[in-house]
Amino acid sequence: MKAVGSRLLQLVVLLGTISTTLFLLLRLSGDPAILLAGEGAGPETIAAIRIEYGFDKSLTEQYLIFIWEIIRLDFGRSLVNSQPAFGFVLQYLPSTLHLTFLAIFFNSVIAIPAGVWLGAKPNQRRRQILSTIVSVTQGTPAYVIGLVLIQIFAVWLGWLPSIAGTGTWAWVLPVATLAFALAPNLIRVVAASIEDTTRQDYYRTAKANGAAPNILLIKHSLPNALLSTTSLLGAQFAFLLSGALITEFIFAWPGLGLILVQSITNLDFPTIQATVFVVAYLVFFVNLIMDQIFRFADPRLRRSQL
């Protein structure tokens, strides 16, 4: 409960900061009504917007109204299509969740066994493989991976579609892009955690009791190493949810990342704000779930029974 409370406090502080910043940005960067009306709008339109959005009221009053509205999840209407921004953004959520879950799944399935393999027996050859992976991939941004994959599989080979919604297999390339972008880091951390367990006292104790290498790995290294990897997986999960901006953009994947890029391009403030809020809530829930996973997996965090 205490953990939930402190996560909640984090959320409130985060959202408060974001919304205040957006509020000030919109109001201090010139006349917001003109900004919102868009280019070529007539004076009547601007005046109408000024009244509709309450820009004629005092700044304090505007702020209080603004806060009250966002508490009710009322971010106003999208400037592009006039739908209520919050509902509009929510339509894009399933698509992002879909991408996120698949990417995390493939990322884990590739990276965890690879990391375990590299960390379990840190000999010269495996160390070299590891450092090669790290040095090659660390500097490679996701968009480069994405573009390379598109070039190979969509353009040259023509095996897979590169644009979302163009076939059953449209998810493959964006998921692969994200998995490739995330995996090296996960491999590195899993390998380091596994290797670290072999230097621990409990590992030596198990050895002193005759444990064979596979038992040492499965019963002693793995549980501890995976525990210390959970927080990275959580962070990667939150990262994907907060919009794999560039990847979604490249593949025209209709998710939160794409909508955020578009709404920023269009200066669609209500949509920007709604997106940021949805993402913040998602990250909040991911963190909450991660806390629970930790509590479940690490006996030291459970309430002590004795």
Partner: protein, 317 residues
């Protein structure tokens, strides 16, 4: 089996920029069944490395030479699969820091039964009965409940009892205890020492400690280590009343004696050679009040239980 373990010319070395340097430098030691021997010596004298190599679990960078004979198995050269069958079964080890020496994410019971079931083909249920039995034997109150605990839920003293239970669970012939009470506070120390003194069953005990008083309290024999060598060994009474090696004498006079009106601590001045340092002759010479030309010319051999050219006689003043 005539001996619990027989160590012949054991050398343990680590790679350094200047080649391998020995931290255990040719130790010979025999431990008979039921024997209780204390290994005493300053920090860095190689006690732990000797203990670890007796089980064949020295750090991977260490190079071990010589013979460590358990029955007809030489732990130095035996294949891991053979040595593994003896570890935790014939020979076991208790470590200094009980909290970190137990797996934090597994229950006491699962860690103990893992070891029982590895060395005996018995059912899960029988293993748990054995766990309960040994936890009771080492004096853990409410052992049934404690079995389900995780290491962090126990006090330091109970954790060390669990470690001892783990060491005893397969009725070993020899238990190596590496400073098992150093991490505990004084009253708990005394309880654990009691357990080591009278709760070990038939197992021989090799107690590593830097405390001569503890050694005298628990063991019947003492071997004194200095800079990788055993420099003196003998029955407790003999070592305490009539130490022959100047280093042993120094250690003894360093023990505070509160019943006598004298300055409490009288440590030996100087420090032992570092592992890479090349020393000609006796490695204690630079700190020894009895040193002469012979001492720096060649290294004294271990004869009549002491490695010294000029063994001292007479009771300690």
């Amino acid at each position: 089996m005539s001996n619990a373990i027989e160590i012949k010319n054991l050398v343990v070395s680590f790679p350094t920029p200047a080649g391998y340097s020995a931290v255990v430098r040719g130790i010979n030691l025999t431990i008979s069944p039921g024997d209780r021997i204390a290994i005493v010596g300053e920090s860095g004298s190689g006690k732990t490395m000797m203990g670890l190599s007796m089980l064949g679990i020295q750090p991977t960078s260490a190079q071990v030479e010589g013979e460590i004979l358990i029955g007809d198995v030489n732990m130095v050269s035996a294949p891991d699969a053979v040595a593994r069958r003896l570890r935790g079964n014939y020979i076991s080890m208790v470590f200094q820091e009980p909290l970190t020496s137990l797996n934090p994410v597994r229950t006491i019971s699962s860690q103990l039964s893992e070891s029982v079931r590895r060395h005996n083909s018995i059912s899960k249920k029988e293993a748990e009965e054995r766990v309960l039995e040994v936890l009771t034997a080492v004096g853990i109150p409410a052992p049934k409940e404690r079995m389900k605990s995780y290491p962090h839920q126990l006090s330091g003293g109970l954790r060390q009892r669990v470690m001892i239970a783990l060491a005893l669970i397969n009725n070993p012939q020899l238990v190596v205890a590496d400073e098992p009470t150093t991490a505990l506070d004084a009253t708990i120390q005394a309880q654990i020492l009691d357990l080591l003194r009278s709760g070990m069953g038939d197992a021989a005990l090799m107690l590593i400690t830097h405390d001569l008083a503890v050694a005298a309290d628990v063991c019947n024999r003492i071997a004194v280590m200095y800079a990788g060598n055993i420099v003196e060994q003998g029955p407790v009474a003999e070592i305490l009343s009539n130490p022959k090696h100047p280093y042993t004498r120094g250690l003894l006079s360093a023990i505070p004696k509160f019943d006598q009106a004298r300055p409490a601590l009288n440590p030996i001045p100087g420090s032992p050679p570092t592992i890479t340092e090349v020393v000609s002759g006796c490695r204690f010479a630079s700190r020894c009040a009895y040193a002469d030309a012979q001492c720096t010319a060649s290294e004294p051999e271990f004869i009549n239980n002491v490695a010294c050219f000029h063994p001292v006689t007479g009771a300690i003043k």
